[in-house]
Symmetry: C2
Amino acid sequence: MSERIFNFSAGPAILPEVVLKRAQEDLWNVENSGIGVCEHSHRGAAFTKIIEQAEARCRELAQIPQEYKILFLTGGASSQFFQIPMNFLKSGETADYVVTGSWSKKAVKEAQAFGEVHIAASTEEDNFSRIPDSSEVSWSENPTYAHFTSNNTIAGTQWAKEPEVAQGVPLICDASSDIFSRPIDVTRYDMIYCGAQKNLGPAGVTLVIIREDLIEKGADNLPTMLQYRTHAKANSLYNTPPTLPIYLMGEVFQWILDLGGLEAMAEKNQKKAQIIYDYLDQSNAFRAVAQEGSRSLMNICFRGPDEETEKDVIAKATENGFSGLKGHRSVGGLRASVYNAFPEAGCQALVDFLKDYENNL
Amino acid sequence: MSERIFNFSAGPAILPEVVLKRAQEDLWNVENSGIGVCEHSHRGAAFTKIIEQAEARCRELAQIPQEYKILFLTGGASSQFFQIPMNFLKSGETADYVVTGSWSKKAVKEAQAFGEVHIAASTEEDNFSRIPDSSEVSWSENPTYAHFTSNNTIAGTQWAKEPEVAQGVPLICDASSDIFSRPIDVTRYDMIYCGAQKNLGPAGVTLVIIREDLIEKGADNLPTMLQYRTHAKANSLYNTPPTLPIYLMGEVFQWILDLGGLEAMAEKNQKKAQIIYDYLDQSNAFRAVAQEGSRSLMNICFRGPDEETEKDVIAKATENGFSGLKGHRSVGGLRASVYNAFPEAGCQALVDFLKDYENNL
């Protein structure tokens, strides 16, 4: 086995090594079936077990009640941006969106084609460097649903807790970049969706956790593949699902369970981020971008003294075996994405490297 | 490495062993980057090379001219069923469909929500046991496009050659189950699409080969993700694509190139199918379902003397290390799917097994 390096990629992102090792074996021959995991029919016994296990593990991890369906779809969060309003937002109705970054804005843009969008709050004036305070969030009178983005990869902010909505208003969350990084009270949501490729697996599968009564409210005059009920009724097997990504996601779920579940995961993530933020807070060369109270534990965005130095830091970091530290192209700077599978040792190693760099400035 | 068995699955289906072995290594560390293939950012250098190579190999394999875009999408052929009419078929316009099986029928159903569908031919009266003769195909006067399914997995039939359409009528083909199993003159088509999971890779990526001028004709008031131009402009990187399935597809393309390309692939596939059809044609116990001249080289559907015997054959075949021989649940019988990666030795072994079985009847 050749050496691996510290991979701070914002997504697709690092996966647990134990999952990769298992996948190497299962690609060739899964469960002693004589057939590799991605060569099994999606309707055969081997894959039926895989998808049922993935669902059961997901349900166990977040204690998801039976009135929620767990769907394995494709098209990423970007497809959910239109599929949600296409299903739920009728012309003349209003949906509320809280805008905390580029992804929220993209979700708004797609929704506007189907109905009214009310911006309940936006922190764009502050370059999305913070999550709005609850006092700033002003919901419309009777929204069809309320939507927010729990973690913002580009600005490096994260909601400490989901926003409060009026009773009866479905709360929908794009949790692509912090899903299962900490405990979540699913009963406060009507729908949670995410691409897998940050915290849960490889790119190519979209996890949707959705209340059955919300599914039933969906428009029924849409293409078959775009109705949530199609996939709910067929347990995500209406058509051939992305079997290999679903398998990998199921293995990541098991890895989190084996670690002790979401509480244990949160403790690890808290500790990892703290190592980096603690350094940044006392550094004279580097500083965190997000405001205190809004800081993401997943994407730690920071700046150096100037752009030249930032470039140099990234170049030297790359030489030293750190990958993926460049900030998003729309904002620049540096970003350390430390999702679930990223090891604590990598956070410490990054801080040691930055300290050294700073000392030599 | 544990032993593998003969996998006749209709899809997801067998992959080349050389591809699986390479993937085992690359999952851990691809191109000595210190990072596994599904952990690289889709915008980084490693994946950029992977997707560019996949496209270049695809273009080389089928000599695809520059005026065609090669897109790597998700959602399977089932999503193309609605995405094609949603983009191209306006209310009041007519699209022509040739119906040769269940998948064609599903495509028709989705199209009917957007405009008129004219059934140019159907072989449903013959249980889809044949492909219509060109004299039976009656196109409408000025169709927006013409659609057909090149291979039919359930009935086991395959077009020997694409149907002729009037000049200027875009020809669109669902080639999910025989793509790149033989040479194809792409210039006769305006769009070819397929799920990867039969001939080209794992489930989770949809290959779309489409003329640029057809892309431009698409409606521009659709959700961003549903417009072909979105993915064409961004070279399939508008959002995070299914990186691992794309990587595997690229490796399968290379495997076909290494074998000698589509001519060599066709020769192998011809020989493999012939071994099984030759046996069936002289057997007193088993017979092919598809009519001569319409027989699929990919899915060889056959019947035994009665359903009890068929069940027994499948059970005994399973004991003997043959998997996936059960016919589709909608039609029963037996089916040997012998896609690109299925080895000739498996065809011979199946015939030996069936001969033995017949001799003991």
